[in-house]
């Protein structure tokens, strides 16, 4: 499919536009809330909340008998919230550690959700079909009112976040200090977690319970590489989330049998990989490049130094030395040929015969300066 046709399609096709809108909004909300989760070392809490939402969805369906997204979302949010409180209280009241409590609640809730889902599937009513799309998400089934629900709930989350921006920032970086200033840390903590729960459940229909956690972690982890400022990180993370959501949802809607959730997650993972490698400052590729440049500089200086030593041992400065000698002296670091080429370009060495090299007068001066510098450096 060509790009132009694709873009044309996007603006013409009503369903595609819905899907793209929905995915973009949930990407933004999760990217923004995910920044706080990642900074507060709660990256995996999203995993727990999204898995734990499954029984909530099933129970909401059992109780209301409707598949309206608002009812199911409320059920999911309630279950996710209860799961979070349960994790906190297990950690507080027993010696079971956070990771175990998280894994326990996550898997038990999910198991209970499966029990309810299989129970619903055996029911004689015909309306139950489609609940299992919550496992892996199905963006194509997003209706206009689903997108509206995502938009309204996501908007509420973002408004709360802006209202309590200063407080959330403080409890994310220094909760003890916040407490000492008299902020109700515990209430703020619960509020922020509640916002995270809402952000996660609005994505369940599109991304699915199994992979929703990646939408929380990936955009934020990617954004973290680009900046050290919270405001910038949250913005960038929201943009990354939207890009991942839209591209994933569109790709999966273009071909048969590609589930939406995994595609969105792979798009987000690609953004993470790109950021880890190429983000300015923290990008690993730059570190690698810096290291290479330093190493080459050192190699070049070493060859210059070796030639200087040889020149001092001979009475006659212009006397050429075979490249083999330089290679032997450079044993352990190498790069002699490249260094000679660089030095020649800088006019510091000259080739006196075939494979024989000597310092030029400026080279002699430069090498002398370097050698004095090395001697002075402790």
């Amino acid at each position: 499919m060509d790009i132009v046709g694709f873009v044309d399609n996007l603006f013409a096709d009503y369903t595609l536009r819905q899907v793209a809108m929905g995915a973009a909004m949930l990407g933004i909300v999760n990217g923004v809330l995910g920044s706080f989760a990642v900074l507060r070392k709660q990256s995996l809490l999203g995993d727990g909340i999204s898995h734990a939402a499954l029984p909530g969805i099933a129970l909401a369906f059992l109780l209301t008998g409707s598949k309206s997204s608002l009812a199911l979302l409320l059920g999911a949010a309630a279950a996710g919230w209860i799961a979070t409180l349960l994790i906190m209280s297990i950690v507080k009241h027993t010696r079971v550690k956070y990771d175990s409590a998280l894994g326990l609640v996550l898997s038990v809730f999910f198991g209970f959700g499966l029990v309810l889902l299989t129970y619903i599937q055996k029911m004689p009513v015909a309306t139950q079909a489609g609940l299992d799309k919550f496992l892996f998400g199905q963006a194509a089934t997003l209706l206009r009112k689903d997108v509206m629900t995502i938009g309204v709930l996501g908007g509420i989350v973002l408004v709360f976040l802006l209202l309590f921006w200063k407080e959330f920032k403080l409890i994310s970086f220094d909760p003890d200090f916040a407490f000492s200033l008299g902020f109700p840390v515990r209430i703020l903590d619960v509020l922020l977690t509640t916002l995270l729960v809402i952000a996660i459940v609005i994505g369940l229909q599109t991304v699915g319970v199994v992979l929703m956690s990646a939408m929380v972690v990936a955009p934020a982890a990617a954004a973290r590489q680009w900046t050290d400022r919270l405001g910038v990180m949250v913005t960038v993370s929201g943009i990354f989330g939207a890009v991942a959501g839209v591209s994933g949802a569109l790709v999966s809607s273009q071909a048969a049998r590609i589930p939406t959730g995994p595609t969105i997650v792979l798009c987000a993972s690609a953004i993470v990989l790109f950021s880890l490698l190429l983000a300015p400052n923290r990008g690993m590729a730059w570190g690698f490049v810096r290291e290479q440049i330093n190493r080459r500089q050192l190699q070049t200086d070493a060859v210059l130094g070796d030639l200087y030593v040889l020149a001092n041992q001979h009475q006659e400065p212009g006397h050429g030395h075979p490249i083999e000698v330089l290679r032997t002296m450079a044993h352990g670091h190498g790069g002699v040929d490249r260094s000679l080429k660089v030095l020649k370009e800088r006019g510091l060495v000259q080739e006196t015969g075939s494979g024989e090299w000597a310092l030029t007068p400026p080279g002699m001066e430069e090498a002398g300066r370097l050698s004095r510098q090395w001697r002075e450096t402790p």
Partner: protein, 369 residues
């Protein structure tokens, strides 16, 4: 009980014990979420292995999938070591990516064969007895039972052989390293065991419920014991009980066996969380209440002792004054006075309170020490 029912319960029990044993070390080493990561990402190994081997119960498939588990662990470690992300975020980045690739591969290219995402994610124990193994023309039982028994034996062998090393490196990694036991080898050994177990159990109970069986029974046992050997035994037992009771609940309600087993592990955890001796919520509250009464009694005795024989004693050591002086509700004061009377520390003259010799001694001791 029919033969398939017995076989299902045997397989379920083997899965439960195989998961509980390495699970104990996972929760002690604070690596519980690693089981979540491994059990998800082995889907990729199973998908790739399946396209090559075309047999879901082949030991080769188990091996290739287990390799993916170990690769996941090392990827998480590599990512953490770059210092660009923290460990929890690294886990949350790696396994969804690998799992997503697996899901896409399966739903795109394996639609027409016996491997669909729901089955792998959720497992279907009810079908396990239909996949038989035969030797010399005789039917010798379901394949799944042999696979899980083999994995169970492997886990037992690993843990019994390296019990000392595992114990040491779990509780004091620094000392283990200093004594020359390589923490890396122990770590990767354990991770290999977890991966192999997850792959084997995957087929029976699905990936998320592997996590339930690996974490919930050990976490439950962790509430009632302080010894590693008891922890291993108790979590195996709890695992088996959860598995069998889960099976019967599923049977009665006609729902997912795996889901029901996971739910039962949760039920047992909550029951233990509430009722465990010493560390259970109930016994904590009972103990707190008892301590409150005891402390209040001591307060009362000290109060009476301080005012004994001084002017105003009639007013101070009066029932009605406790409310004013110690800020006690009248009901509470009545209970405490009653308890102290029963203990023989005080006696009452109408509403006037008198210390007995016994009570005077207690008050004196409380003030000294």
């Amino acid at each position: 009980m029919t033969a398939p029912q017995i076989e299902i319960q045997l397989i379920a029990s083997a899965v439960a014990v195989s998961c509980a044993l390495p699970g104990c070390f996972l929760i002690l080493r604070r690596m519980a979420m690693m089981s979540d990561a491994i059990s998800h990402s082995i889907l990729l190994g199973i998908a790739v292995g399946f396209f090559v081997i075309r047999d879901l119960t082949s030991p080769l498939l188990v091996l290739s999938a287990a390799m993916t588990g170990v690769v996941t662990v090392s990827l998480v470690e590599i990512l953490t070591r770059t210092k660009r992300v923290r460990e929890d975020a690294a886990i949350g980045l790696i396994f969804p990516a690998l799992f997503s690739i697996g899901v896409i591969l399966i739903s795109r290219y394996a639609g027409d064969v016996h491997l669909d995402v729901d089955a792998v994610l959720l497992g279907e124990l009810a079908f396990a007895p239909f996949n038989r193994l035969s030797a010399l023309g005789y039917d010798i039982g379901p394949k799944g039972l042999y696979l899980m028994s083999g994995i169970l034996l492997l886990n037992l062998f690993f843990i019994l052989t390296f019990y000392k090393e595992l114990k040491l490196s779990t509780f004091d990694a620094g000392l283990a390293g200093a004594l020359g036991f390589s923490p890396v080898i122990i770590h990767y050994g354990l991770m290999t065991i977890v991966s192999i177990t997850a792959v084997g159990a995957f087929d029976a109970v699905g990936s998320v419920l592997v996590v339930a069986l690996m974490i919930a029974p050990p976490a439950t046992a962790y509430l009632i014991t302080d010894r590693l050997s008891y922890l291993l035994a108790a979590s195996s037992l709890i695992g088996v009980i959860s598995a069998i009771s889960g099976y019967w609940v599923a049977h009665a309600l006609d729902v997912s066996i795996a889901g029901s087993m996971a739910t039962m592990t949760g039920v047992f955890f909550v029951a233990t969380f509430l009722a465990a001796p010493d560390r259970g919520l109930v016994s904590i509250f009972v103990r707190r209440a008892r301590q409150r009464v005891e402390f209040a009694q001591t307060m009362l005795l000290v109060h009476l002792y301080n005012h004994e024989g001084l002017p105003g004693v009639e007013r101070e050591n009066h029932m009605d004054h406790l409310h004013e002086h110690l800020r006690w509700e009248p009901g509470f004061a009545g209970r405490i006075v009653g308890a102290a009377q029963r203990k023989g520390s005080i006696s009452r003259d109408g509403a006037f309170l008198l210390l007995t010799e016994n009570g005077r001694e207690t008050a004196r001791q409380a003030m000294v020490g």
